[in-house]
Subunit: 128 residues, 4 copies
DNA sequence: GTGGTCTAGACCACT
DNA sequence: GTGGTCTAGACCACC
């Protein structure tokens, strides 16, 4: 499993786990129907508490990305979830944050474009 | 002063203030040497706690964007500060977050590029 | 046998099976004395674990809806069991849950009445 | 605060708290802008753990019923949230559950209607 | 003061 | 075995 946590990242651990999982789904390294490691297993692998992983899975289930059922573990959901205003607003905030940070660091549009394109490539490149 | 806070935005208020200030600097609506409103003044204008504004100024000073001197208020710093690993990592996280969110929403690289370019334009367009 | 399970329904599978069986009894598609499929048979038909079906049957027996005898399978009980405080409380909770959900969705009493009546009709309509 | 928990109710405590809060909002005993007790306060009043209350608040915030912000407590949200397929499905399940339970207890449509109407009255009757 | 996160560990429910 | 809930208590972030 290619999930890791960075304790120096201010992002909450449960969110890092959720984000990393979303990445794996976006990269299609995890496909609909695939099973995830059990909360206990992943908690041990990452060296974090069981509840922290459980929360990450719960959030992912709430977003419709995972199917989690008692006694049967978690798997990637089949159905495509619908996105609301909240997700679009979050995306817009991410754009603003990035551009603002970039300008503060003196980067220009072309440099940001490159960063974005390279990250895009990084994720899409791993698809098989 | 074109600073505002949005209580529906999950971003902490002090960070919203700091970001808005950075935007004004990036747009060159605030130029090196320009004075900012006093902590008390801005706190009253925004209807937030005095400490919240003080913290935003403190953060901006820490990042080298403002000069804050006891009793003389805050002004936009002249020198372009050198940025370290922390800023680069934060920028990288912003890029990753944006791309991950975009992919989850089904957007492609071109659409993200457009969003970024338009936000860039929005800020640069206001320069006089 | 018109029993099915929906893995997207958060209701535990054993409870889904028990509920579906109750429905069949309520619809009089299963009448006192009728035999149910064996645990093994139904488990295979539904593609679920044998213990899951066994538990559903056990619950139904506990509620007095089924008679289960070792080695002779299960059959619909004759006597109308007397129900106690637990059943009344559960019913009350169901009423409260429904009304609360309905109000949160902005429905009025008439709309809820209609939903209830239509579900009643759905079950009673199948009686032969 | 008119919130209570019933340890004999199989419903999780955090969900009981969330449901009770929704009831208060439905009864308009809590109106948009009203503040809720702090998680610590409510936890002490109910004799449950702080995290349990926190989870209830978090879920309510996620559903758009509460605004919760660090350092400022929780208050009833102003904006009307939008309801999706999930909520409608949950409502339908509640209807089915109620009707099924009622039939198993030998109640007829009229009796169920009465129960529902009386619960409706109980909630609406408290509006001022 | 407020809520948020994380931990450790117990116990329950489901398959 | 699986995930779910709850507790007790620590520490952090925000206002």
């Amino acid at each position: 499993m290619q999930i890791w946590v960075d304790l120096n990242d201010p992002t909450p651990i449960y969110e890092q786990i959720a984000n990393a999982t979303k990445e794996l789904v976006n990269q299609k390294l995890l496909r609909p129907g695939d099973c995830l490691p059990s909360v206990r297993q992943l908690a041990q692998d990452l060296g974090v508490n069981l509840n922290t992983v459980a929360r990450a899975y719960r959030e992912l289930a709430r977003e419709g990305i995972l199917n989690v059922r008692q006694g049967r573990g978690a798997s990637v959901a089949r159905a495509r979830r619908s996105y609301g205003a909240a997700e679009r607003e979050a995306l817009h905030r991410s754009v603003k944050r990035l551009v603002n940070e970039a300008l503060s660091l003196g980067l220009d549009l072309e440099q940001v474009r490159e960063l974005v394109a390279s990250e895009f490539q990084r994720l899409k490149g791993k698809e098989k």
